[in-house]
Amino acid sequence: MQNSLPELVKCDVFSLFNQMRSVSVDLNNDSSLLIDIPDALCERDKVKFTVHTKTTLNSFQKPEFSVPRQHEDFIWLHDTLVETEEYAGLIIPPAPPKPDFEGPREKMHKLGEGESTMTKEEYAKMKQELEAEYLAVFKKTVQVHEIFLQRLSSHPVFSKDRNFQIFLEYDQDLSVRRKNAKEFFGGFFKNMVKSADEVLISGIKDVDEFFEQEKTFLLDYFSKIKDATAKAEKMTRSHKNVADDYIHISATYSYLLICLHSLCVINAYRHLEKFSELLEKLRKVEGRVASDQELKLTELLRYYMRDIQAAKDLLYRRARALADYENSNKALDKARLKSKDIPQAEENQRQCLQKFDKLSESGKQELTSFKGRRVVAFRKNLIEMAELEIKHAKVRIKSAVCSEHNLFTHN
């Protein structure tokens, strides 16, 4: 069973992506640097993405090229960006989450165990549904990785990042470079996060009105969106369960029909046949509704939860810079008192102030554009979700009416 799945997902999934541009908001507009992931392979636990770049920029060696990348490479790229001091005033696009096939894999396992209790048809349908689920997870993870790269490419500063270029171009395995980088940055990163958290949460009121507002808003919004994401996930999961139940029912019903076939009152069982067909249609609709809900709603919330975390990180960094600045002030005062090392302290203070100001300025810019981006994305997804729900409900209506019509004309 495990072997069959990789074959399935090896195929080119590009065409399917066009329907999947959910959380992204028209990235990849700038023709000077176009990135996409046209192909991906799933081998056991590892997913290999093919990152394809098309560029008119001179900084690249070739105008068009592709490289294979793994998830860990993306994480490395993200981490290096986070560590880069210059980018402290920018919202670093959130790292794509690790591909998680655990859900469908577990279900597939359970299905295999329960094979003997089901009819052949039921088993085939469940397997089909599971394969679709697997494919959906796969599509999602490819999309998330793609968006990450596209956000970098469409950002004026990030697109010029050296590491980003290496990521896109370097046609050999990045794992060697990755290892070094990780060891170096790993510990530092963690420390920074911890202390920044404390700084922010200490509740010091920010002098700057804008940032104070942002801080309150983002903190509050983050907890709410995290909660909403969790609830949305639960809702989508139970929706999936309902859709799965329809499979069982539809399969058992058609089996029942086969058994009753021998009855002489065949005409009378025509309605059961129609009902069975209806059930089959319904279950497909339910499956679609569940997956659409997942994509448009749950995924949207999930993505922006991560994005807001990235915005919060920016605020942390700014708060850290402020703390540094204040410390440098204190150091300067101390130096002045002791009349020792004054020029160094002054220099330090000046640098801190400069850093802080730069951070604040770019931070403001970034947060404002983030607001706009978020609103647009929500709008797009909510509209699409509503339209899809309407479409599916109409399909259900049509199927039911069709069945009813059949019931009454056939008898």
């Binding site: 139970s238 369960n241 058992t252 029942l256 009152v265 005409n267 309605h271 059961l272 009902f275 509503a386």
Partner: protein
């Protein structure tokens, strides 16, 4: 539930009513209405609309209507109007006391237009059946049919603590002359229903009739109710039981033989019934029943019947298969209902969460849209809840009923086997007696010979009786199975239609919800 059945008329009908039927009496159908459609008799064209008003009245209580097959002559029309009026008051009374009647109307009662289409469809369906080969068993066609509507309503708790019990109001409206009054109602408790079943089993089982089984006992459910917890699950339990009892009674009176049974009539009419104590689980008779069941099971394994008629063997196999499948289907639908309920809870939680999110959103248009989304999800949750309810009542209960009914059918087959066994045993004993007589003849003992001869005649009579019993049970069983299958067909179809209707209704509302949300989403700036 609205399905047709026909009653055997008492002898004192006017002859003109009977005339149209004589031509078509041989034809197989138990829905007299179609005969008339087939013959194109204009007199009966008005029948479907006539049933409408009565159905409407009963939709509140969820009763079923027997299609009136007698010509809508003036006298009959007037009569039905009277019935209408009489029961209209009763209906009002019911509405006032049962707050759930509104909801139930949607779920259980047949709606006016639905039954019209049902009746037209039944006639169309049966039109086809007229073309079926005549080897199919026939049922006695009646001239006039009479109406008998039953409703079980008003569950009330009597008594206190562990001795508490629920009583239900059983209302009957009938034109059958066997009953003294047209409309009446009595209060019955659950054990009364079980008692009725016991009595009917004893009487009719030996004849091969398929007796509808009552709803099952539930110690857990009843204890909750007794203890007096006013939570929704005990209310649901009571409602479930009430609906099940109603269906049970409706099936009982749908059976032509059972309707004429004095026990049934007594059940419907008599004010006070003696307490049926032998239905208690832990009584002496309860234990006796368990022992009997066990011995039956053993017998089943050891009896090897010489089946002269293959029909029975294959039919039994079919019944057993079907029972298995319906059981599986029931389990699946049950799981669907549970998952849908779970989805309701999750949707409600999500709605709250989105509302919170909307309130903390700084962009006002988005904030409005998010709160609107929360409302939509809330409405959807309600719709899901209703859908779950309807899934349950329409499908699950139907399936559970039929699993039990198929069990009852199997029981009849077993009865037939037992009858056969008795016949064989009687034959074996007869053989022994013959041998004994032969021996005596040989040994020449005239006094004992007389005794032996008398024994022989007695046993020959017994064998004859057993054989006749067996034949009778076989032929009744055949007829019963046919009748049962037709009813099952109709029942399933009816429920499927109801399910479709409820699905359509809820989906239209889903579309409305989302369509209302769409402009809000588009207004986000």
């Amino acid at each position: 539930m609205s399905f047709s059945s026909v009653r055997n008329p008492p002898p004192f009908l006017d002859s003109e009513d009977q005339e149209p039927e004589y031509d078509t009496r041989e034809l197989d159908s138990d829905d007299g209405e179609d005969i008339f459609t087939g013959s194109g008799n204009k007199l009966f064209a008005a029948t479907p609309p006539e049933t409408d008003p009565t159905t409407d009245i009963f939709s509140e209580e969820g009763s079923f209507t027997v299609e009136k097959n007698h010509p809508p002559a003036k006298t009959n029309g007037v009569q039905s109007d009277e019935e209408l009026d009489l029961f209209a008051e009763a209906t009002v009374e019911l509405t006032l006391t049962t707050p759930n009647s509104r909801g139930r109307k949607e779920i259980i009662g047949p709606t006016g237009p639905l039954s019209t289409t049902m009746s037209t469809q039944n006639s169309l369906h049966m039109h086809n059946s007229l073309n079926k080969p005549l080897e199919e068993l026939e049922e006695e066609e009646s001239g006039d049919t009479f109406e008998l509507n039953i409703a079980v309503t008003n569950p009330e708790k009597m008594g206190d603590g562990m001795n508490a019990y629920m009583t239900y109001k059983v209302s009957t409206q009938t034109t059958l002359p066997a009953f003294h009054i047209k409309t009446f109602s009595v209060r019955r408790r659950f054990s009364d229903f079980l008692g009725l079943y016991e009595k009917l089993s004893v009487k009719h089982h030996l004849m091969g009739c398929i007796i509808p089984p009552p709803p099952q006992k539930s110690v857990v459910g009843m204890t909750k109710v007794k203890v007096g917890k006013e939570d929704p699950s005990s209310a649901e339990f009571v409602e479930k039981r009430r609906a099940a009892l109603e269906r049970y009674l409706q099936r009982v009176v749908a059976h032509p033989a059972l309707l004429q049974d004095s026990d049934v009539q007594e059940f419907l009419e008599r004010e006070e019934l003696p307490r049926a104590v032998n239905t208690q689980a832990l009584s002496g008779s309860g234990f006796l029943k368990m022992i009997n069941k066990a011995s039956d099971a053993v017998n089943k394994m050891t009896i090897k019947m010489n089946e002269s008629d293959n029909w029975f063997e294959s039919k039994l196999q079919e019944v057993e298969n079907e029972e298995q499948l319906l059981r599986r289907l029931h389990a699946s639908v049950d799981s669907l209902v549970n998952h849908r309920k779970e989805m309701c809870i999750n949707t409600a939680m999500f709605a709250k969460s989105v509302a919170m999110l909307g309130s903390s959103e700084e962009n006002s248009a988005l904030s409005r849209a998010l709160s609107q989304l929360a409302e939509v999800e809330d409405k959807l949750e309600q719709l899901h809840q209703e859908q779950a309810f309807s899934d349950f009542f329409i499908l699950t209960e139907l399936l559970a009923d039929y699993v039990r009914l198929l069990g009852a059918v199997r029981g009849c087959f077993e009865q037939r086997m037992k009858a056969w066994q008795r016949w064989q045993e009687a034959q074996a004993t007869l053989q022994k007696k013959r041998e004994a007589e032969a021996k005596l003849l040989w040994a020449n003992k005239p006094d004992k010979l007389q005794q032996a001869k008398e024994d022989l005649t007695e046993w020959e009579a017994k064998v004859g009786q057993c054989e006749r019993d067996f034949e009778r049970i076989s032929s009744t069983l055949r007829k019963e199975v046919h009748r049962f299958e037709k009813e099952k067909c109709r029942d399933f179809k009816h429920h499927i239609v109801k399910y479709l209707e409820s699905l359509l209704r809820s989906q239209h509302r889903v579309v409305k919800c989302w369509e209302a949300f769409l402009p809000e989403a588009k207004a986000i700036v």
